[in-house]
């Protein structure tokens, strides 16, 4: 029997189409990327039918983790010309007689995620070198009536930026007492309008059921 001769092929595969495709995907991803923020505590948000997207700037986000810690984030979106993060921290420092240096204020401005640090630990937190050390200070913002730092943060945030909108991002399993405490603190500061951050889910109601 004669041997079947396979045509000798060059060992190279033409990768050009693959590279083309990769470039397109890469460009797309790079242009649409909004970096996912590293949160100090994992938060599993509840679902709702609301379709309104989260505002991009002027937000004051309160994060309630399921171990009853409260975190805060002030976000001005991509436009940071109106630097209110350092201003808020400076106000806070004035209240607690802590002098924050220029580098510390800048560090706070640059810190990208939400923070849950008692103000007395803030200097150490900002001086921390790596993320692991930083997260050890994230014990949550005190909300007790004796040391209500959350109320002060909210107060100064609203003084510095009157247009700030309150968003609440809570974990599904967060116990209600802490939610209520936070809502009460907000109400004390005359914040009655909240945006609750949720994930989208579809809900159907049976039309026939209504028409009965």
């Amino acid at each position: 029997m004669p041997k079947i001769k396979l045509p000798t092929k060059s060992p190279h595969i033409d990768m050009t189409p693959m590279v083309d495709l990769f470039s397109v995907v890469l460009t797309f991803l790079m242009l649409t990327a909004t970096m996912r923020q590293q949160e100090p505590a994992p938060v599993d948000t509840p679902y709702s039918i609301s379709e309104k997207p989260t505002p991009d700037f002027n937000t004051l986000t309160l994060i309630l983790s399921n171990d009853d810690r409260v975190f805060l984030n002030f976000d001005n979106g991509p436009d940071t010309a109106f630097k209110f993060r350092p201003k808020i921290l400076a106000e806070m420092g004035k209240r607690y007689n802590i002098e924050f240096t220029e580098t510390e204020l800048r560090g706070f401005e640059k810190y990208p995620a939400s923070m849950g640090v008692p103000i007395l630990k803030m200097k150490e937190f900002l001086a921390a070198k790596d993320a692991k050390e930083m997260s050890s200070f994230q014990t949550g913002i005190p909300v007790d009536s004796t040391d209500n730092q959350l109320a002060l943060w909210i107060l100064f945030a609203r003084q510095v930026n009157p247009n700030i909108q309150a968003c609440i991002k809570g974990d599904t399993k967060t116990g209600f007492p802490i939610v209520k405490k936070v809502l009460d603190i907000m109400a004390d500061k005359n914040v009655y309008k909240f945006n609750l951050i949720t994930n989208l889910e579809a809900a159907k109601i049976n039309l026939a059921e209504i028409q009965k």
Partner: protein, 221 residues
């Protein structure tokens, strides 16, 4: 790779170098793969959504301001209880009933639970809203999204038969329940609802219904 390192003859005339017709793209592809993986993992694709809620204004000075009065016949009290259950009762509890509290009914968050209960009571408004939506969807009525929303808002303001829902939360409820019940209000098109503090007798009613040993009857609030 191997073919790039071509033996060059030392000395001699400098010839125009002959390049292989294809460039080795492997390192570039490697790098791109890494970048794509990185971006895919760090990109937040779906932006989280928000649900708006307005809380009633806190009455800071009770001598100056009186709590708004609402009719008891339209009131529906919904209490978020432990274990993802909802307890509800209609109307109000009068002070003379404190020794003999009315029973509460128990439902869950499933579509056949709370949603059916709310739709039952909010039928006329829910029907109006559904008809309105239907007209827009089928193209009988051509309006913009904004006027659709304001139309629905108007239907809600004009409504005077639907329930006034007071949402309360027992201390063992969780945040997920809170969002879920507000979501149900939106789904069922309830026109008037608000979140208020739970009263001490309501805590007792829930405890009795859920079989939780009640805390000693001190003046709780």
């Amino acid at each position: 790779m191997a073919e790039i390192i071509q033996e060059e003859k030392a000395g001699g005339k400098k010839k125009a170098k002959k390049h292989a017709p294809h460039i080795d793209m492997t390192p570039m592809v490697d790098l791109m793969c890494l970048l794509i993986t990185f971006f895919m993992l760090t990109t937040a694709f779906s932006k989280p959504k928000i649900m708006e809620i307005n809380l009633p204004e806190k009455i800071k000075d009770p001598t100056k301001q009186e709590a708004p009065r609402i009719s008891a016949s339209r009131t529906l009290n919904i209490i978020l209880g432990p274990d993802n259950l909802i307890y509800w009762y209609p109307g109000a509890v009068k002070p003379e009933d404190y020794t003999n509290l009315p029973p509460v009914s128990q439902v869950d968050f499933s579509p056949t639970g709370i949603r059916e209960m709310l739709l039952e009571r909010n039928r006329s408004l829910a029907k109006k809203i559904a008809d309105y939506n239907e007209q827009v969807l089928t193209g009988k009525l051509v309006i913009s999204q904004d006027s659709l929303l304001s139309g629905i808002r108007k239907l809600k303001t004009d409504d005077d038969t639907g329930p006034i829902v007071l949402i309360k939360a027992y201390k063992k409820a969780n945040y997920g329940n809170f969002v879920d019940i507000l979501d149900e209000m939106n789904i069922c098109g309830i026109a008037r609802y608000t979140f208020v503090d739970i009263a001490w007798f309501e805590e007792k009613m829930v405890e009795a219904a859920a079989g939780i040993p009640s805390a000693p009857a001190t003046a709780q609030k």
